[in-house]
Symmetry: C2
Subunit: 398 residues, 2 copies
């Protein structure tokens, strides 16, 4: 199959992928639900995982396998999350890794595994192992892989980046699934980024943490993650770039760009999302205050519904900042919507209601909130809350 | 008007109330939106207010007036919250208090004031002052007062309690408005409780804090409150009970019972609510962990939508506990829905799907979650999330 989603000439050298139908979710046999990514040589590998205290079996196993710093591939499934599944779940994750290792021809400890879907159900691990054995990875298979990890996503999420490092072309490719409500109860976020850059393990680990902070963590902060969230980055060095200082920084930038693109695609494809908004908090007494206020505003159901309905109820934004725990001087605070001052120096600004309504009606809304205190700032991204979101999530397992 | 909602013979002695139409929200002239409660003698008075950093002008003023420990009455309005309104808002709250003091015949410092409605709009304070002057408080007026403070509430909320203390009948009466989504972005909660018990000020203050903890704080925890939340309790001693130790405790119990009833009415009347659920967390390492887990579960949009759709997706409950920050041993944890074990000793229990579906289909659902660690427990109440909720909140100011 010739896949327009991921042209083969944009795939980092030495990587292949594919997917198969395992019928993970009973009665849903006709969709791709198991995927495999393979490198033809060992990769430096690093990851970031959920901080949820209830952590899924595949995350536990992958974190353990990453201790060695080297992976040859990744196997993932959708349909069932293999979370809250006890020892049977541990065994299922191990079986997936063994099946993938057999397919790749490597040790089980060189495989990462991830699952997404319903919590508390056991995986049909026999069907999954058989499906893994059927996968024929190729340069053209990343589109199928991206489709295989979708749950309520309406479209597969893929991002590319390429740059020249010392005359060598270096590529990075990422696939992700998100949807869900992102935060605070986001559906699982899975993101896999591969690059043919030569990145020493320590550098790679630093890059992955920083890239997550600038991308996925701005849509799903630590402590508010699902049981299965996983970001895995594999660097196989097949581009022949030499890992000198500046080259490493440039190659690392590719990974960050890919992560940022995936994060924005995830927000835009949130469940039932019709509008997206950015919240920039300034004038905070500390960076932590700024982040807290920005995150609380983006996750406030009252703000999200107001934005959905284009209801110019900007007071909810300030109220959310006020209850976030961030320090606010409400007599010096300010709120700006789409460049329009609605609250300034601690009092409502005189504005034309038509202008305000127009600002709230935009498909992408920029909100700026000054807390009136210090110099710290932070940005977060949110989505509206629609009746469609409720419908999707009221019928998820059915 | 003879009001069935609040029979005059259940009203604590010495209290009267009434309401009028001020047209607070432009174009909404034909509803009661300003109310007054009056005591014929000075009352010991205590209150609990929002912990939001953005605090509305009426809360600031009432808290200042309570420093004296004595009130003669309370004035309240719906339609506009008088929050984020700067100095003009401070003056409006003071004008309301002055108008009420003139109507009652007391000092402005003896009046409490509360507002609820849209944030960031200025009150039409001239119309409100004229409406206050028109109110003719009576024993029959509490029903009208309860109606005047409603916003998206579908019904007025009133609770009574009466007991004998040393042969004397002692009464308590409460009125409240809630609706909104309760928590985390609850619409303003206003609750006013009057009693003819004789309660010394220190006792009253302790009673109000404890009553709030067992009632409103179980539906709206500190730090997650609106800009205007107010609980005010006035005790005028008109029952002639003598404030000895046991009598005080019994009279205090009346206030707590009234608060609990109002809190449950508020949950049941949450915006777009079709189902309510109770979350009891046990086995927590600390009381704080138990509260945090219970609150996170009751406010999880994924849990709320699953309950709305009767989708037996119990894994979301455990995932919410896991991201709450509470310590969880997921290999010893348990989840029980409507008495049905769905997760036990760290693994899914074998259950009949029909039983599970029936448990999730109930109008009132009892959820029990054991964190598998210690002895601490906590309970919280939540509501489902419906498309109707989204509709209400997408059109609130319009």
């Amino acid at each position: 199959m010739n896949d327009e989603l991921v042209p083969a000439d944009r795939v980092p050298r030495g990587f292949r992928a594919g997917a198969a139908r395992a019928g993970v979710k009973t009665g849903v046999a006709d969709r791709l639900d198991v995927g495999l990514i393979v490198s033809d040589r060992p990769c430096a590998a690093a990851g970031v995982f959920t901080t949820n205290r209830v952590i899924a079996a595949p995350c536990v196993l992958t974190r353990a396998n990453l201790a060695g710093g080297t992976l040859r591939g990744v196997v993932a499934n959708s349909g069932i999350a293999n979370a809250c599944t006890g020892e049977e779940g541990d065994r299922a994750a191990a079986t997936m890794v063994e099946a993938a290792a057999a397919a790749i021809g490597c040790a089980p400890a060189e495989v990462g595994v991830a699952s997404t879907g319903v919590i508390g159900w056991q995986l049909p691990v026999g069907r999954i192992a058989r499906a893994i054995a059927e996968i024929r990875p190729s340069e053209r298979g990343f589109g199928d892989f991206a489709r295989a990890i979708m749950t309520t996503d309406t479209k597969p999420k893929v991002a590319f980046a390429e740059t020249d490092v010392d005359g060598m072309s270096v590529r990075s490719l990422g696939v992700a699934k998100g949807a869900g409500m992102i935060h605070p109860d986001m559906a699982t976020l899975l993101a896999f980024v591969v690059t043919d850059a030569a990145l020493p393990l320590d550098d790679l680990r630093a890059v992955v943490g920083a890239a997550a902070d600038r991308s996925f963590n701005a849509i799903s902060v630590d402590g508010d993650t699902s049981t299965n969230d996983t970001l895995l980055v594999l660097a196989n060095g097949a581009s022949d770039m030499r890992p000198s200082g500046d080259a490493v920084a440039r190659a690392a930038g590719l990974v960050t760009r890919v992560c940022e693109s995936l994060a924005r695609q995830i927000v835009a494809d949130g469940e039932g999302v019709t509008k997206v908004f950015e919240v920039r908090v300034t004038g905070a007494a500390s960076r932590d205050d700024a982040r807290r206020a920005a995150r609380t505003i983006t996750t406030s159901n009252l703000v999200k519904t107001a934005i959905h309905g284009a209801d110019p109820n900007w007071g909810r934004i300030l109220a959310a900042a006020g209850r976030s725990g961030a320090r606010v001087d409400d007599r010096r605070a300010g709120v700006r919507i789409g460049g329009l001052d609605v609250y300034r120096d601690g009092a409502p600004a005189r504005i034309d209601p038509a202008d305000l309504r127009r600002a709230f009606a935009a498909k992408e809304i920029a909100i700026e909130v000054s807390l009136g205190l210090g110099d710290a700032d932070a940005t977060a991204w949110g989505t509206d809350l629609s009746a469609e979101y409720v419908r999707i999530n009221a019928e998820y397992t059915t």
